[in-house]
């Protein structure tokens, strides 16, 4: 692993952000918009239900979903940037290795996720007095677990992008949404129909959101659920990285040049 080259690619993606205001809006505008709209809706329902917890459950769902979404989205949009800019051949005809590229995508994704979550948490605090630090130290492992979920989803979508190119780019925006309903962002899994509950068993984020709700109501969380989520995430991340490497190899067989024509 050559960290100079990793840094070069990190720099490349931050410059890409600097030159693309629409990417900045993805980072700040949409999370803020969601918090305004759904936070106010939550306030209304909290009043109807006469429960302050209801709004916090909703806000926690919004803020922590950003972790998964940003982690997945950053990987995919930065890969797409190489395709849109017709730069893929330049970087892979250079000494840069796929592992270095992946590392740079993870670093950039991590930093931008932290920025997005910090910004959203700040908005949630200013508008609704929702403090994400009320989760204490439990916040860190749960955030990490969600980050791994986002990365696993990101590399699965990236596998398709590197194989089929920009024609399936819509998955970069919508790919991870498929696990949203099974993650129980805003509701307990018990309200899901039986088949959906069964599906939720294999969705790592479902355990994290269950725990986050439990912390809000009881101040405790299930270590078992946290470990299951980590276990599933590690398995999915390994699988998605293997699929990505395989698809990259397949794409190289067909010629990376075809993706930028």
């Amino acid at each position: 692993m050559n960290w100079n080259r990793v840094f070069a690619m990190v720099l490349r993606y931050f410059l890409y952000l600097k030159h693309n205001w629409d990417r900045l809006s993805d980072m700040f505008y949409w999370p803020a918009f969601d918090l305004f709209l759904w936070g106010l809706t939550g306030l209304y329902f909290a009043k109807l239900a006469n429960s302050q917890n209801a709004i916090f459950v909703l806000l926690a769902g919004l803020v922590f979903w950003i972790v998964i979404w940003r982690a997945q989205y950053e990987i995919n949009v930065n890969i797409l940037a190489e395709i849109w800019d017709k730069n893929l051949v330049n970087i892979f005809a250079s000494p840069l290795t796929v592992k270095e590229w992946i590392t740079s995508l993870l670093i950039v994704g991590f930093i931008k996720m932290i920025l997005s979550v910090a910004f959203s948490a700040l908005i949630a605090f200013i508008l609704y007095r929702f403090n994400i630090f009320l989760y204490g130290f439990a916040l860190i492992p749960h955030l990490l677990s969600l980050l791994l979920t986002g990365w696993a989803a990101g590399f699965l979508v990236a596998s398709m992008i590197i194989r089929y190119g920009a024609k399936i780019q819509t998955f970069a925006w919508t790919g991870v949404a498929i696990i949203g309903p099974f993650s129980g962002l805003y509701y307990p899994l018990s309200i899901l129909p039986h088949w959906a509950q069964t599906t939720a068993f294999i969705v790592p984020s479902s355990y994290v959101f269950e725990n986050l709700r439990q912390i809000l109501s009881t101040g405790t969380f299930s270590m078992e659920k946290l470990l299951i989520s980590f276990g599933l995430n590690v398995v999915y991340l390994i699988i998605s990285l293997k699929v990505f490497m395989r698809m990259f190899k397949k794409s190289r067989e067909l010629g990376l040049n075809r993706l930028v024509q």
Binding site: N2, L15, K86, V89, A93, P95, T97, R252, N257
Partner: protein
């Protein structure tokens, strides 16, 4: 001469279609090899495999005596490429692009190198300009700057002068010749400009349907065509010359008052004497010697004819 690049039986198949068919060639230290061929001959596919952005179906590539498959990272530090068909991040400034690639190629003390190359390619005033705002010629010069950033020992140039005006194209060719002379840089060079290939290349291979059909020096290839073309401008004696050609059964083509006669060089003297004897006067005369382009066209035509037969 040590081989900087050695290609052995390189093959690329897409299903039943063979794009590159067991191609073998080498490039020596400080040598410029021209790769010619009609569209679809397999030039770009070959270059992609040599850059590692397409894996071959079979065959091996060695740079500096080392397997490209096993030593990709180490080899690509000392190699680079320029293709007018590839772009760069369009929102980035010239300087941003070069700084990023200097880091990727681990160019030591990159700032002076970047400044020197920008000056060489006469784009030092474009440092802060965005790639999208550059003209086609400026973009090509920036791609060339990127290509020479890492002091490459071998460089693959896919039509590097395609979008340049003649004055800049001459400067680029001079720069490439200087790099070859001073730093012994080896080059693989593709171009549709045959005069340029003749000027630049030490050796040429011609690809057709993924196979090498010819390999030699440009001079030898041009010399394989014995006929040249005699061009005569005849204004007053046009009818006389028509009759003369008809009687003597001389092959020719006519464009207005210009007569083009394919003829062997040693027969020109006797042909002109015969014209004088017939009292046919010409206003202007020129001899168009056969070049690489004539050889290329003749070879490709022959190949097509053979395929039809």
């Amino acid at each position: 001469m040590d081989n900087v690049l050695e290609v052995k039986n390189l093959t690329k198949k897409f299903g039943d279609f063979t794009a590159v068919d067991s191609v073998s060639f080498s490039i020596g230290d400080g040598e410029i090899l021209g790769v010619l061929g009609p569209n679809g001959a397999g030039k770009t596919t070959t270059i992609q495999m040599l850059l590692g952005v397409m894996s071959p179906t079979a065959g091996e590539v060695f740079y500096f005596g080392k397997s490209f498959l096993k030593h990709r990272e180490e080899i690509l530090k000392k190699a680079n490429f320029c293709s007018t068909y590839i772009s760069l991040p369009w929102q980035f400034t010239t300087m941003e692009i070069l700084e990023i690639f200097a880091r990727i190629y681990e160019v030591p003390d990159s700032k002076p190198r970047i400044k020197k190359l920008l000056k060489e390619f006469e784009i030092e005033h474009l440092e802060k300009k965005h790639f999208s705002d550059l003209s086609a010629g400026e973009k090509t010069r920036l791609l060339l700057t990127k290509a020479f950033l890492n002091y490459p020992k071998i460089i693959l140039l896919d039509e590097p002068t395609a979008s340049l005006d003649p004055e800049i194209a001459v400067k680029i060719r001079d720069f490439l010749k200087k790099e070859k002379k001073e730093y012994n840089v080896s080059m693989l060079f593709t171009s549709h400009n045959m005069a340029e290939v003749e000027e630049m290349c030490d050796r040429v291979i011609i690809l057709n349907h993924g196979k090498i059909i010819v390999e030699d020096t440009p001079e030898n290839l041009a010399g394989k065509i014995k006929n040249c073309e005699l061009e005569l401008l005849i204004i007053k004696d046009e009818n006389k010359v028509d009759t003369f050609f008809k009687n003597k059964k001389i092959k020719h083509r006519k464009e207005r008052n210009n007569f083009f006669i394919p003829i062997r060089e040693q027969e020109i003297g006797s042909f002109l004497t015969a014209l004088t004897n017939e009292k046919i006067n010409y206003e202007q005369i020129s001899i168009n010697k056969a070049g690489l382009e004539d050889f290329f066209l003749q070879t490709i035509r022959k190949e097509k004819q053979n395929e039809l037969e």
